[in-house]
Amino acid sequence: MKKEWPLWEVFVRSKNGLEHRHFGSLHAADAEMALANARDVYTRRNEGVSIWVVESSNITASQPENNPEFFEPAKDKVYRHPTFYDLPDEVKHM
């Protein structure tokens, strides 16, 4: 047999109160091994309190070449920002 172990993406929560963040990736035969390897590769110095592993092939990603039509609709909606609204200086706490 000549087959690579699948690729997994590793997400680590550094401490409670923080979100899981993408730390990197690794190869493993299954989820259990991916978790054990993630512990050894990415948290050798107490960098985490929780790990998620996701097989990379399960991730759907947006494509940079579509960025203009994908993200630009948000750009001309300045009225979504507080500074769009003109209020007199006397108004406090707003």
């Binding site: 000549k2 172990w5 690729l7 690794l26 035969a29 299954d30 050798r44 494509q63």
Partner: protein
């Protein structure tokens, strides 16, 4: 795409890097950028992995449990560095198996320093102090390089390297404070590792072919000669504290330059080792290939087990 369109994309790309923007794996990039990064990142990964071999030679003979635990932890870190870097490299569209194959077939290079033997325990001290020391100087500027995954891997690597250098220097310090024989052992290790360490920064600027392009892509921030000078300037005072002598009769502080002057590097030796004629090139590759081949049944068995379990789980769900 027409040639003109590509030229246009290239101009936009170079401008993004000049503006300190990072390039991420799915972004459009010139083919040369991709290939250069695959080459450099994989070379770097291979160096971390092959670098474990000379140190592994002393794990069972470390003089105390404290030293043994530290050496094991350092070697495990180097394996981790290799993995961070292989992962970064794979985002450029090359598989791990292809990368290993390039190493094992001799197509890919790794740092020549690991083709020297570790003859005594003092060599483990000298490697941590000098080799990891030189690696740190090479690596710190890469934390800011233009390719996102490489930069992120380097941030993690650099955080871990400083323990490597300190544990090496502590070994040297202990030997130098020990018996005359122990101190002589430390001096002998410095004698053998000094020049190869200076070669780790690569050929002189006049001889170096990649520098200009590498500067643009922030694969380099300083030239080989500048980095080498920085290493010498910071390492010589450390040798003085140890009370051992750098094996270079031409080494002298130059007040005017504010740097140490140093002797001629034996570049013939450097190229010999790069081309495969170093003392341990063959031994290192033999060890790597044998580990890979003898591990094949384990890799296959793990995959077969995972596939069997996946099938079982599907049946259970039905």
């Amino acid at each position: 795409m027409s040639e003109k369109e590509i030229k246009n994309l290239e101009a936009i790309f170079e401008q993004r890097i000049a503006n300190e923007e990072k390039i991420e794996p799915k972004d459009w990039m010139p083919e040369k950028y991709r290939q250069t990064h695959i080459r450099q990142i994989s070379q770097h990964a291979h160096s971390e992995v092959v670098g474990m071999l000379p140190e592994g030679n002393w794990v069972t003979r470390a003089p105390s449990l404290r030293r043994k635990a530290a050496l094991l932890a350092k070697i495990q870190d180097e394996a981790g560095h290799g993995l961070y870097l292989y992962s970064a490299c794979e985002t450029l569209g090359i598989s791990r198996d292809e990368l290993y194959d390039q190493l094992h077939s001799g197509k890919a290079k790794y740092s020549s320093i690991f083709n020297y033997p570790t003859l005594t325990w003092a060599d483990i001290g000298a490697i941590g102090w000098l080799v990891d020391g030189a690696a740190i100087i090479n690596q710190v500027p890469l934390c800011n390089t233009s390719f996102g995954p490489y930069a992120r891997a380097m941030v993690r690597v650099c955080k871990e390297e400083s323990f490597h250098q300190r544990q090496g220097y502590e070994i040297m310090l202990t030997l130098c404070k020990g018996t005359p024989e122990q101190k002589a052992m430390a001096q002998d290790a410095l004698n053998r590792w000094w020049w190869p360490s200076l070669m780790m920064f690569g050929p002189t600027d006049a001889e170096s072919v990649h520098t200009e392009q590498s500067m643009k892509w922030k694969l380099k921030r300083k030239t080989n000669d500048e980095l080498r000078q920085q290493f010498i300037d910071q390492t010589v005072p450390q040798a003085d504290i140890l009370g051992i002598t750098v094996p270079d009769p031409d080494l002298k502080w130059n007040e005017e330059r504010g740097h140490y002057d140093f002797g001629e590097i034996n570049w013939d030796e450097f190229w010999q080792v790069v081309k495969g004629q170093g003392p341990c090139n063959r031994e290192r590759m033999k060890a790597r290939v044998s580990a890979w081949e003898r591990g094949e049944w384990v890799r296959d068995a793990a995959l077969a087990y995972a596939e069997k379990n996946a099938k079982k789980n599907i049946k259970k769900a039905m």
